[in-house]
Amino acid sequence: MKHHTVLRIVTKLIIPLILLFGLYIQFHGDYSAGGGFQAGVIIASGFILYNIIFGLEVGFSILSINMTKNLMAIGVLLYIAVGFMGIIQGLNFLEYNSLLSSSKEGQLLGIFLVELGVGLTVSNVMILIFYSFNNMGEKL
């Protein structure tokens, strides 16, 4: 669809906005509506839009299938690593209070990192699903 000029221009204009909105949702998740799940899906939708318009080859050059898998894994790892921080410091799993000196800031940092992990994983999973359905030959 590269030759649809309107689509191309509009897409180029709109993708930064989508990503920005995704990031907004991501970072505001800890004290208002939103969070990693929604943000991940929104960011993925921006990326998928890009793929639809400019073709899969371009998409792969930015983010290959293996890369999405790796990022997915890293997202989960981040989540669990934060969880384990609590255990290492002698508290319960996912207890963030001790991440920083004051418990309130610790809470903030903890939920932020966890949401980041969730967002990373969700967006990459969405992209991966998109990729997989595109190359039907390749197995999930």
Binding site: S32, A33, F37, S132, F133, M136, K139, L140
Partner: protein, 107 residues
């Protein structure tokens, strides 16, 4: 009344899953089926006169936020199920050349 509608949706979904032979339609039925339950959760979270549960000074009645959170998880599960089902359907199409359950010949 809403609950009745909701349960109608529930039964429609169930009916499609059981009745349809086309696997894609079955997946759609499954989605309707699941959505009806999600809507049920949203219905029970509604509090008379409540507003969205974002804390502000001039409001004291909120809708119950917990079911929303729960249903978020359930939606994720539903997405996973759907995508897995679709992936399976693609492989079924590859292997048997059809997605009509009745036409698949195992013999």
């Amino acid at each position: 009344m809403l609950y009745v509608l909701n349960m109608t949706l529930f039964l429609i979904g169930l009916f499609i899953i059981v009745r349809e032979s086309n696997l894609i339609k079955k997946v759609i039925g499954l989605n309707i089926f699941q959505s009806s339950v999600f809507i049920f959760y949203i219905l029970i979270s509604k509090v008379e006169g409540g507003v969205p549960p974002i804390i502000s000074a001039d409001q004291s009645i909120y809708s119950n936020p917990l079911p929303h959170v729960l249903i978020l998880t359930a939606i994720v599960v539903s997405i996973a199920t759907t995508s897995l089902a679709l992936a399976l359907i693609i492989r079924i199409k590859d292997k048997y050349g059809t997605i009509e359950e009745d036409d698949i010949d195992l013999g």
